[in-house]
Symmetry: C2
Subunit: 452 residues, 2 copies
């Protein structure tokens, strides 16, 4: 018998109907031993996520006014779910009691207080799903992260899992009952409740999957699969049914919002396949992310882009004979607390690509001054409005003709290439272009590699 | 009236007939006020350059045996030239006397002694050319670098010009006579004769051209022009009649042996156009190297390649969030006294390209150990046998389709691209390929851009 950890995102739990879908999916496969849930998300576009309501509630409590209306809204959401699931009225009383008592908690540390409130969305989701499954006659229990041993660093809102968690959680594997587990939070060693960064339920699921050595970590969301390009940019992009961890990582970094690669990292580290699936269409194939892919129909699995970078360009005659030039440049960047993306270089020139948003006028001034005085370049330019486009595919650099297809597609669409970067053994090629060409570039690259 | 400094290379002065060609060229244009000469080069393939004979002579003298035979060979070379030019026998006596007395000089400092001997090739060339021109009734005089004020750093065999030289040499501009000047050497402030590195006559000419603010620096060699690719690799490569300093610099770096870009640097700094011409075919158009080119028939001016690089490849999950990763890697490279060529990067990986020859097993071991212990990469690989191919052309990155043509040519010839690097505002694109594909790549890129 296989062991599966499955996690359901916010839209999968947005209403009683969605809870029923989740229950159906959980019950459809006896291997789904651990079900991790998010807080109820949006039911439709204008709706508000429960987590956002909870944060507003905490803020209002801290501000000392306006909490009543938010409290009402939160309770209404859960009342609707409880009623829709046919759960007894005492469930609502429990939710209300916990919310109010937690609201009256210690407000001396702002971030801790917010964590303690915003985690309630997941706690209530998990409690209600477990109650519903029990009511329907199934052997599911609610397990609290504290009881399971999910120990995190004491960093409110940005907690990290501590290594001992894995050993502590491991016995869940042999639990006599199937488990519903709230995502998004755990406890510091001092007993404080602390939350992960956003996307935290994905992290919880990934940690649990790793800890119990699951055969697969099923991540249920509201899309059928990962697409080869952003569907807001490309009309009906190709579906990707298989990809590797590193492909996902590159795409996620390059602007794919469907995936939170860092959140899934604990599962990747433990080499547990991650299966992205759709709660609203459980029949669809989904996207399986694992160490290696078997389907190599496409050398490239995706095209992604990200706008608003800038390049600091330096040229200096005989630069390449000046030992330490690049290192000193990066030191200046680092001292200004900036991260750089890439550093393509010519013989006498070097460009550092940086997120435009991180280069405030003040930082820019300081960095340029230091570059001028310490590196004495012949030329020093800043170019803004650069978009970085990535084509990603494992081993594609070993296949001849990829760069030709990509540069051909860009050139045929009159897109000028400001930069190109492909390193040894890489599974991506980066193209630097003008911001305004970004969507056109994504469309042409998608069509070049996915036959449209 | 314009002012020209012209310099003749070794093959231009290999024999009396060649001296006559040089004299004819010098006399053909009254603007050629300063003529800089190399030592006599090879008359044919198996021949030995006079400079090499002089170095052998110095070595023999230092070793204390075998000098006589070399002395004889040197004197024969000059006897032939003197006789062929119809110069009086006393010229030969002068050459012999100087050679022997210099040979008996202070041998306590080996490198200094070698410099004092090997510089004689240029000195004799210049003295004999001046004597010949005088004999033919022209107002040329021999000017010694010491008298002209060519002051160099006291680094035997690797001297650098000192800034004051330019002011000291400047009056040559207004000399009443036309001048023959020996290349390759000058004097340190302490009066020691010191030689430039190899290619030093080019340096002398460039310094003189800059000092007298020449309108052009004519560099006479034995090729009609610079070619778009190495003629030993590409059959009848395209001729390049115009190029910019920076194009030349990139090509020279990338393996173009016809040009010594650093040697020409003093002229470039002073914005003096350099005209590469052929002593054996003075009618040919040559190649004019200047700040800007007017002929933009070709977006690319040349293709060059250089083999035997290696890449150190590191990958590490979340590398790009680790501030200072690239900088610390370059610090390790720098501490090992290595230079790197490029540093292409992906999201979680980075490659440093290094000349294979500089990475001895001992250095490699030390560098890899430090990388492992200080940067803890998930993966660390060294890939050898990498050739770097450059296509070069000013502003070509502003023209759409260059990358397409290049990657298309490589792909059509089944050449796999290991790396690509093109930075902002660059006038080159670098392709990293396998050594064994280098010549094929140069041919296909040449043909793609120069229509064959």
């Amino acid at each position: 018998m296989a062991l599966k950890v499955c996690k359901f995102g916010g839209t999968s739990l947005a209403s009683a109907d969605q809870f029923r879908k989740v229950a159906r999916i959980a019950l459809a496969d006896a291997d789904r031993k651990i079900v991790v849930v998010s807080a109820p998300g949006k039911r439709d576009k204008p709706d508000t996520k429960v987590t956002d309501l909870l944060i507003a509630y905490a803020d209002a409590k801290l501000a000392g006014s306006g909490a009543e209306a938010v409290e009402q809204a939160i309770l209404e959401r859960f009342a609707g779910i409880i009623e829709g699931l046919g759960l007894p009225g005492e469930q609502f009383e429990t939710v209300k009691t916990i919310l109010i008592s937690r609201g009256e908690g210690d407000r001396s540390h702002r971030a801790r207080y917010i964590d303690s409130i915003k985690a309630l969305g997941e706690e209530f989701s998990a409690r209600l799903l477990a109650a519903f499954l029990q009511k329907e006659g199934h052997d599911f229990i609610y397990v609290d992260p504290k009881d399971a041993g999910l120990v995190l660093s004491d960093e409110p809102g940005n907690a990290q899992v501590l290594p001992e968690s894995y050993e502590l959680i491991r016995p869940l594997r042999d639990s006599a009952h199937r488990i519903v587990f709230p995502g998004f939070y755990g406890y510091a060693k001092n007993g404080n409740l602390v939350a992960f960064p956003r996307g935290g339920s994905d992290i919880t699921g990934a940690i649990l999957a790793a800890a119990v050595e699951a055969d697969v970590y099923e991540n249920f969301t509201d899309v059928d699969n990962v697409f080869a390009a952003d569907p807001r940019v490309v009309d009906k992009p190709a579906a990707i049914h298989e990809m590797t961890y590193s492909e996902m990582r590159e795409l996620s970094y390059a602007g794919f919002s469907v995936l939170h690669d860092e959140a899934l990292q604990p599962a990747f580290n433990a080499k547990i396949p991650v299966h992205i699936r759709n709660t609203n269409n459980p029949e669809s194939k989904g996207t399986l992310i694992s160490l290696e892919r078997h389907n190599d129909e496409f050398p490239v699995v995706g095209v992604a882009g990200s706008a608003d970078f800038c390049t600091i360009f330096l040229s200096k005659y005989l630069m390449n004979r000046e030992k330490g030039f690049g290192r000193r440049l990066l030191q200046i960047i680092e001292d200004a607390d900036l991260s750089y993306e890439h550093m393509p270089s010519g013989i006498d020139n070097i460009s550092v690509i940086i997120k435009q948003s991180s280069l405030t006028p003040e930082v820019e001034h300081r960095v340029l001054e230091r570059i001028r005085s310490e590196l004495a370049p012949d030329k020093l330019l800043i170019q803004r409005g650069i978009a970085l486009i990535m084509i990603v595919g494992d081993g594609m650099t070993k296949q001849i003709g990829i760069a030709k297809r990509a540069t051909g597609a860009l050139s045929d669409n009159a897109i000028n290439l400001e930069m190109i970067n492909q390193g040894a053994s890489e599974n991506s090629i980066m193209f630097g272009i003008r911001n305004e060409d970004m969507n056109k570039a994504i469309v042409s690259l998608h069509n070049a590699f996915f036959g449209k």
